[in-house]
């Protein structure tokens, strides 16, 4: 953080004072931060808050993504992943294929991240069986699976409540929800981009139920398409409000829109400055969500590293295989190794800390396994 005269010159001294006193920022504060044209000023404010929360640590997880199917009854305009059954790029992994992919990973795989489209036919029992088998195969791994959108879809398909779906999946091994499908909560945006999907209220309601059942979640925001900065801030405010009630959010994940192969392909990609501003403002607005993720798959590895100095404290993980961002043109690698991630974090002047899904530090024994 710089001398107060620097922030005064930029018209941000009151915000800097609020942050120094750990006071909550208003929507107007958020708008002024977005409007700030000095990236060093914004970075220094966000980095100070991030350092107060997490010191010099930057977290990562040894994880494996599984996208079980891209067959989806929704047709969100920003999505390049979703396909209808029978379309050339539609796919559906069998249970065997999923288990083989997981079995190919090292024994101490910390997290298994499973998400897919809203499949029209697969019954909830299919997913319960799948989670049970995954749990039997890797009992120590944490299963983080299904966006709030999938959970609501299962409830509708089965004609049961969201709580029942969550309770059944939890009994089968579900430990956490990854937070996807939040997009931007704004009704205006959802009506134009994803009218088939549950609305913002519906998303927050599923997540509230999950938190009540002791299932913690992350929360995403898909930005950089047709939303306004005000709508981004309203999205953050809605999460902040729910978090005040439940405390169940672990990590916030801003996701830059990827413009290839979807109905919004006429839009340009997000710029680095917009990405870093969004990360920084998230850190500063979301005073009650402990972690902010720099998701390298969508940000690019290079920019995600700098994001660790603009308010993010988490680099996500090894990932191994990812389809949602890559089908939309993300040109990052499919996965990173533990050594690559640690080097990237160290080169940013931070200390890599391997974590689990709940950000508990992993402690390795001498045999390379995890205690």
């Amino acid at each position: 953080m710089f001398d107060s005269g620097f922030y005064t010159k930029l018209g941000l001294s009151d915000i800097a004072d609020k942050l120094a006193a750990a006071e909550r920022l208003s929507m107007e504060d958020g708008e002024r931060l977005f409007a700030c044209r000095d990236m060093n000023a914004l970075g220094s404010l966000a980095h100070r808050v991030r350092t107060r929360l997490h010191g010099n640590s930057a977290y990562y997880v040894v994880n494996r993504h599984i996208n079980y199917s891209n067959i989806c009854v929704n047709g969100c305009r920003f999505c390049a992943f979703s396909k209808k059954k029978g379309e050339p790029l539609a796919f559906e992994l069998s249970e065997r294929e999923i288990l083989d992919r997981i079995a190919a990973q090292e024994e101490d795989l910390t997290e298994i991240h499973i998400v897919g489209g809203c499949h029209p036919e697969l019954p909830l029992s299919h997913f319960e069986d799948l989670l049970r088998k995954v749990r039997a195969l890797r009992p120590k791994s944490i299963i983080k699976a299904f966006t709030a959108v999938e959970i609501a879809h299962f409830a509708r398909n089965e004609s049961i409540t969201v709580s029942e779906v969550l309770t059944r999946l939890k009994a089968a091994g579900l430990r956490m929800l990854p937070g996807g499908g939040a997009e931007v909560f704004s009704r205006r945006i959802r009506e134009r981009l994803c009218p088939e999907k549950i609305d913002g209220k519906g998303w927050l309601e599923v997540v509230r139920r999950a938190h009540e059942l002791g299932i913690r979640t992350n929360a995403t925001m898909l930005y950089g398409h047709i939303e306004t900065r005000r709508e981004r801030l309203e999205h953050m405010a809605a999460l902040r409000e729910l978090q005040d009630v439940t405390g169940g959010f672990v990590c916030f994940i801003p996701l830059p829109f990827q413009p290839a192969n979807n109905e919004l392909s006429y839009l340009p990609p997000t710029t680095g400055v917009d990405d870093l501003k969004t990360i920084a403002v998230s850190r500063l607005m979301l005073d009650n969500i402990p972690h902010i993720k720099a998701y390298w798959v969508m940000l690019t590895v290079k920019l995600a590293q700098t994001a660790l100095l603009y308010g993010a404290d988490d680099f996500d993980g090894t990932v191994v295989e990812e389809k949602i961002g890559h089908m939309a043109g993300a040109d990052s690698k499919q996965g990173l190794t533990r050594a690559e991630i640690e080097r990237i974090i160290r080169e940013a002047g931070l200390e890599p800390v391997e974590r689990d899904s709940f950000f508990q530090r992993k402690i390795h024994d001498n045999n390379g396994g995890c205690k």
Binding site: F2, F6, R37, D38, M39, N40, A41, G43, S44, H47, P268, T271, G272, V273, D274, D275, L276, L299, T300, K302, L303, Q305, T306, L309, E340, R343, I344, E347, A348, G349
Partner: protein
Amino acid sequence: MSENGRLSFDDAWELYQGADFHGLGRMAHTARLEKHPDPVVSYVVDRNINYSNVCVCGCRFCAFYRPPGHPECYVLGRDELAAKIEETLELGGTQILMQGGHHPDLPLSFYEEMLRFIKARYPIHIHAFSPPEIAHFARLERTSIGDVIARLGAAGLDSIPGGGAEILVDSVRERVSPRKCSVREWLAVMEEAHGQGLRTTATMMFGHEEDPRHRLEHLFALRDLQDRTGGFTAFIPWAFQPKNTAIEREPETAVSYLRLLAVSRLVLDNFDNIQASWVTMGPKVAQLALFFGANDFGSTMIEENVVAAAGVCFRLTVEEIHRIIESAGFRARRRTMDYNWVE
């Protein structure tokens, strides 16, 4: 700061190693705004033309060259050259950046004729032949560097690109590019060119086998020469891309690049311009570089072969360059090689 208001080597080292990231960025951005108070970021529309990939140097960091006799060797013919220049002019280009390998057989007259051929036909600025090429021509021709520059200048050469500087420390050059010109020769070509009235740029390729201190030695060697001649227009640092080369290591990260860029802006107080390298760092990090000392976005690179050979291939249109510069809060303006505005 030392007494004359300039950074000493030790000051620079302390900043490079110790300054916090945003503090370093702020210092560099302040220095940039002192030199260029208007929030303008410049760029040039040009094309890289690599007239030949035949090279006897065999630098270990290079993925572009082919040794003589290799089936993929080429030397561009006149028709290809003309077609590339015509396309550049059609796209509104104002200059070509022409470089090639150290061809073992082509005489200096070949290059003189190439320049005359272009100048007789096209109104285009020729920014060509990095110092190692010029030193190579002098050796082959058994003449002086001054004579080579004078002959090329008479044939139409307008300015000299600062390539082949790599790291201007001989112990590093002996390891990574043992057959390329020495530090003394590289600087001598630039000093001679400046003396003959040709402007030049200066580059640095870092992140291979040098120590961090060597990067600063490089900057101070450039600053000393610029004090004498004032002939450098811009400094362009870029990160080594290891794919398809004989040096095995991970590429430099964005944070490491931005720190070096910021220190460059602070050390090179006698250079007017510092370029961001979107070609090696990608558009996102290059945009952030505009807050870490860079005031120039480099070139549209209608064609780029050398970095692409090392597996890194970003592409940007003029419209996209404008959008990136403007969304960072600056105005985009097109310039010539010597930093005059085009419109």
